[in-house]
């Protein structure tokens, strides 16, 4: 039985001015899969993520989430959750209000309850009524993750989500991400930390100058040599 992949990216190209930030990227993610995406700064990872999230329109190519093209309209974004290194929070609103907003925008029937349980999963429910701007960077990141997951998205896009998290926060994040994967969600994880990335990955890719220079399933790669191979492919010294 072939089921529709959660995410299908076909021939994505996106330019800014004369420069191709994403230059022909295609891949597929099925339920429960996680693609760890590595690459040096400027490789186009963030742009690719934004294309898949529906924040940017591709110059060429298409993105299908659960078989629905993102071009089809707003509904296609319903199953996507995005975590980036910016917190995407409103500083003047409380942690709870921020997550509640996301719940409402996704049409959840009981936004407050969903928001509280999302915060609890990330271990920040005791700060529910604190203004977002008074939270530390790490706690803001946790709230941001709760915001991205409150609607139980089938596709989770994470851009350096571990940035700023302490040990407890990282553990909470890894647990939440694994649990999401087990529930059938697909993950696209952009990270500089190869160890963390490989821990969750079922696929791994290295991006450079807008292209996947290497892309394989987790079983085929050897974590031991991957680090040095990555440095070589990424053009790092």
């Amino acid at each position: 039985m072939t089921s529709t992949p959660v995410l299908r990216a076909d021939g994505l190209v996106r330019s800014f001015g004369g420069r191709r930030a994403v230059d022909g990227v295609s891949f597929t993610l099925g339920a429960g899969e996680c693609l760890a995406l590595f690459g040096p700064n400027g490789a186009g990872k963030t742009t690719l993520l934004r294309l898949v999230a529906g924040l940017l329109a591709p110059g060429q190519g298409s993105v299908h989430v659960n078989g629905v093209s993102l071009k089809a309209g707003a509904e296609a974004r319903a199953q996507v959750g995005l975590v980036s290194h910016a917190s995407m929070l409103y500083g003047a609103l409380t942690a709870l209000e921020n997550v509640e907003l996301s719940a409402r925008l996704h049409g959840l029937p009981k936004p407050s309850e969903a928001a509280r349980s999302a915060l609890a999963l990330m271990g920040v429910d005791d700060r529910a009524d604190t203004l977002a701007r008074t939270l530390s960077r790490g706690l803001q990141q946790r709230v941001s993750i709760a915001r991205a997951m409150v609607h139980a998205p089938r596709l989770l896009l994470c851009d350096e989500p571990y940035t700023g998290l302490d040990v407890a926060g990282s553990a909470a994040l890894t647990e939440v991400l694994s649990e999401r994967r087990e529930a059938g969600a697909a993950l696209l994880l952009v990270t500089h930390n190869i160890t963390e990335g490989l821990a969750l990955a079922t696929q791994a890719a290295i991006m450079r100058r807008g292209r996947f220079v290497r892309h394989e399933t987790r079983e085929l790669l050897d974590p031991g040599s991957y680090h040095s191979e990555y440095r070589e492919l990424a053009g790092l010294p």
Binding site: E75, Y90, A92, L93, L101, S102, L105, P109, R147, A152
Partner: protein, 234 residues
Amino acid sequence: MKELRISKAPGTLAASWIIARKDLAIEFRTRTAFLSALVFALLGVTIFYFAWDATAVAAADLAPGVLWVIFTFAGLLGLQRSFGSELADRAIDGLLGAPISRESIYLGKALANLVFVSGILAVTIPAVVLFYNLPLGAGIGALAGIAALAAVGLVAVGTLFSAMAVNTRMAELLLPMLSLPFFVPIVMAAAQSSARLMAGRPIAEAWPWLRILVAFDIVFVTACTLAFPYTLDE
């Protein structure tokens, strides 16, 4: 959160309402922008009074002009802050990634701005009535109606331009520069029609101006809603 829920995303109007409430919640928590704009409006209204020779021109004749000019500048103060909170931590990405239409973002913010501007008018108009000794009568009801029409036009154009201005280096200067030419028909129509109605003239005299206001509102609410998606980096 264990199972994967499929829920029905809000339609454009519902989403606009959610976003408007969010903006108003932020505004009322801090209140700084509202109070600043309000103080500006009240001060402006009083300062204008001393700029004329009160014996040569009756205060009641000055009032409409003063009211609508001050209204545009106070409105601009409010519009300035419209998109600031969205860029600070890329909160707008949360709105753009949600399954809501782009237009609902514009409509929600415009609605919040409308409430803001109406709040200012709700205090400024009575202040003008007080300081300029306007006769209380049917004219005041008409004034409220004109204020509503003018506010809609102001907010429609101002919200769109603040979405653009916020992405530039000189946002505070650019927003007035872009908006004021568009406010000209609003101010003219509002001032001329309210002057006539408050002087007790028959409504037929104010009608041509009111028609301009209504037409302006219809044209620009539509045009700005359609144009808004083009101001987003997509």
